[in-house]
């Protein structure tokens, strides 16, 4: 049960990724976006390769984005959804992955409700693995598309401040951004109600506050995180109304941000919970841009890991 392989073959999180490699990956995303603007949106880069999407947790959007990215690069795609499989009957992660490997899959894209599952798949399969979200741990392509969207807006990430507001405790998006953005020279401010804001997340380039106005005050980008009803049911919060009072990203809160600040959301949005309608649909919103960039970022990641090899 040895350590997962080097980051050169996988995108599990950003632990082993250098700033130079990350910048190269973002640069390459420009090229992929250009491909998506062509009448024929397809390149032969991954011809002959089979990409397996192993989604142990449902996510129509992320899965669609990855599968489309793989197909636009001419890969064959094997889709595996755990809900309708033997996994629900208690099959071990290793057995599932070894079975999928027997279909001659060349790389895995993994989504799982447990933190660390993508690392386990990398260990068990010996194949390149792209983490499409594992528990609270990481959602690296989401953070990359966030970074790309901010860079697209402002030309660079160095010196920028990104405020992330909401259920930080349970958020792989917040953790991945807190890992990625400081490597690219940006500051991250994590903000949310105290029970959902673990103190131990503070670190190099990452600060915490429970004061949302303070969080957005110098922010170039403000991201709202999805708040799930489950948090009320498990005692973290009194009610959605109580959350909305201090932490909903709405025009009143955004009035405290600089005029140039843009608004991001990893989707899907709970409208008028963590994000108000007017802000979601307003001029500062880059939410649909994120979706578009997401596909290009995922193409760039696939290229980087399976063709470019760093």
């Amino acid at each position: 049960m040895s350590k997962a392989g080097s980051g050169l073959r996988h995108l599990l999180d950003f632990q082993e990724w250098s700033t130079a490699r990350l910048l190269a990956l973002l640069d390459n995303t420009d090229t992929m976006l250009a491909v998506l603007d062509r009448p024929v949106k397809k390149v032969p880069a991954l011809q002959g390769l089979t990409i397996g999407t192993a989604f142990f947790e449902n996510s129509t959007r992320t899965r669609t984005s990855f599968e489309l990215a793989a197909r636009r690069m001419s890969a064959d795609v094997l889709s595996f959804a755990a809900g309708s499989s033997s996994v629900s009957k208690g099959e071990s992660l290793r057995d599932t992955i070894e079975t999928l490997s027997a279909y001659k899959v060349d790389a895995f894209i993994v989504r799982h409700h447990a933190s660390g599952a993508a690392h386990q798949v990398a260990r068990y399969s010996g194949k390149p693995v792209i983490n499409a979200g594992d528990g609270r741990r990481a959602h690296p392509t989401q953070a990359l598309l966030d970074a790309y969207t901010i860079r697209q807006e402002f030309g660079e990430l160095a010196g920028k401040t990104v405020a992330i507001i909401g259920d930080v405790r349970h958020s792989r998006v917040a953790r991945s951004n807190a890992e990625l953005l400081p490597k690219l020279g940006a500051k991250v401010i994590l903000c949310g109600p105290a029970p959902l804001l673990p103190r131990d997340l503070a670190g190099e380039g990452v600060s915490l506050t429970t004061d949302a106005r303070q969080a957005v005050q110098h922010a170039d980008a403000v991201m709202a995180l999805r708040l799930q009803q489950e948090r009320m049911d498990t005692g973290y919060l009194g009610s959605i109304a109580d959350y909305v009072k201090l932490y909903q990203l709405n025009e009143a809160l955004l009035a405290h941000a600089p005029d140039h600040a843009i608004v991001l959301h990893p989707g899907p949005i709970n409208r008028n919970v963590e994000l108000s309608d007017d802000v979601a649909d307003g001029p500062r919103s880059r939410i649909l841009k994120q979706v578009e960039n997401g596909q290009a970022v995922r193409m760039s990641v696939l290229y980087h890991l399976l063709v470019g090899r760093g």
């Binding site: 997962a4 290793r94 660390g116 594992d134 528990g135 741990r137």
Partner: protein, 416 residues
């Protein structure tokens, strides 16, 4: 039946000696060899170890371990006596179950079994089990173990009743509501890994409560597998105040920290969780200053497939009974010294149970172990007698391997 073991050394002694065993007792030292003769090859002799905390999984979970594999593993680890935990399926809360286990173990010729029994029916925590009948059947300790005793009143009653029967109650001291869904120590590492954390306060808070019950009742409380500096300090202060409490620590809590979880390997998922370097250091100091009474392994075998589930689903537990002494000797001989280390595995554990201290004197029961303190060997789980053939220490080079274990005058284990 007579057996002579030649060419052995007592701890810190230079001269080579021999010991003769007859009818399950030590007949004497340096007698003329008689009966079967085993060449001890210069190994060090000690009383066989006592294990106060092992999960042998029988009845009902034999895919993980059974009496034959678990007690063979214990003998291979140098243990002569094992107290097994009652969290089996069904729970060991019936006198007939205790009797059946002892009867079965007796025929195996491995380590001796002294079962613990549930303190409450089904380990549910809300109604006392038949403690007097369980004792009569052979139970030596009462515990609800991992089913933490959330109902303090019932634990109090259990302490009082068990004390009147002369048996200890042992507890897995964690506040279940604070522990919640934690799968590792709560702290910077758990937050970085995005894994639900179990705070040190869950253990300390529960130890504080249980020490109050101990004061209230005067009964003997044994606290299992202490993992935090804070809880240890609470026990230290209570002992200084004369509270009737004992405690154990496990090799994995002395050797490993939450940093081990960084690779997302479920091998390191254990309850209580692996803590921080400050905690391991404090536990070592607890061994040195006598706050900790004994070393127990909390040997917790599972199937490989169970351990290959994800980090949330995989069961808690590390199998370690076969490597415990070698681990402790290799890593802590310098800090503890061999006599103290052996004491923590023999007399210390016996004292917790109010059993006579094991000795190698003429006339004593012939439970003994020979230890090769010099040869380095690689931990190879495929050779384990336990059904759980994996280990956090696989591939590690260790010294201090048991080479012969004698239980009741009979060879229970001999290294090939």
């Amino acid at each position: 039946m007579t057996l002579t073991i030649t060419n052995i050394k007592r701890i810190h002694a230079d001269q080579s000696e021999s010991i003769t065993i007859e009818n399950g007792k030590i007949k004497g030292w340096n007698l003329a060899p008689e009966g079967d003769t085993i060449d001890g090859q210069d190994a060090t002799i000690a009383p066989a170890f006592l294990e106060l905390h092992a999960h042998l999984r029988e009845p009902g979970q034999e895919q993980k371990e059974d009496l034959a594999s678990g007690l063979a593993a214990a003998a291979a680890g140098g243990y002569g006596t094992v107290v097994c935990m009652p969290n089996t399926s069904p729970v060991i809360d019936q006198p007939e179950l205790v009797r059946a286990l002892i009867a079965k173990a007796t025929g195996l010729g491995q380590a001796r079994l002294r079962p613990s029994a549930a303190l409450t029916r089904g380990q549910q925590g809300d109604q006392l089990a038949e403690l007097a009948l369980l004792r009569e059947a052979g139970a030596v300790m009462f515990t609800d173990d991992g089913r933490t005793n959330e109902n303090a009143r019932i634990l109090r009653l259990g302490l009082e009743y068990a004390a009147s029967l002369g048996l200890p109650v042992s507890v897995h001291a964690e506040d279940a509501t604070l522990r919640a869904g934690g799968v590792m120590n709560e702290g910077p590492v758990s937050e970085a890994l995005g894994l639900p954390g179990n705070p040190a306060a869950a253990e300390a808070a529960r130890v504080a409560r249980d020490l109050e019950l101990c004061r209230l009742t005067g009964a003997h409380l044994h606290i299992q597998h202490l993992s935090t500096a804070r809880a240890l300090q609470l026990v230290r202060e209570a002992k200084q105040a004369g509270v009737n409490v004992t405690c154990e620590v496990c090799p994995h809590h002395l050797l490993l920290t939450d940093e081990s979880l960084r690779g997302f390997d479920t091998l390191y998922k254990v309850a209580p969780p692996l803590r921080t370097r400050a905690d391991t250091q404090a536990l070592l100091e607890g061994l040195q200053d006598g706050t900790v009474d004994c070393i127990a392994t909390d040997h917790a075998p599972h199937t490989r497939a169970e351990k290959e589930l994800d980090m949330l689903q995989a069961p808690f537990g590390i199998p370690s009974i076969e490597v415990a002494f070698a681990l402790m000797y290799t890593h802590f001989e310098a800090q503890l010294g061999l006599p103290k280390l052996v004491d923590l595995l023999t007399a210390g554990a016996a004292q917790v149970m109010k059993w006579p201290a094991p000795t190698l004197d003429t006339g004593a029961p012939a439970d003994l172990v020979l230890l090769d303190l010099h040869t380095e060997r690689t931990v190879n789980p495929t050779e384990f007698k336990s059904k759980a053939k994996f280990s956090p220490w696989a591939g590690e080079r260790l010294r201090g391997w048991p080479v012969l274990t004698v239980v009741d005058g009979k060879v229970a284990y001999r290294r090939e």
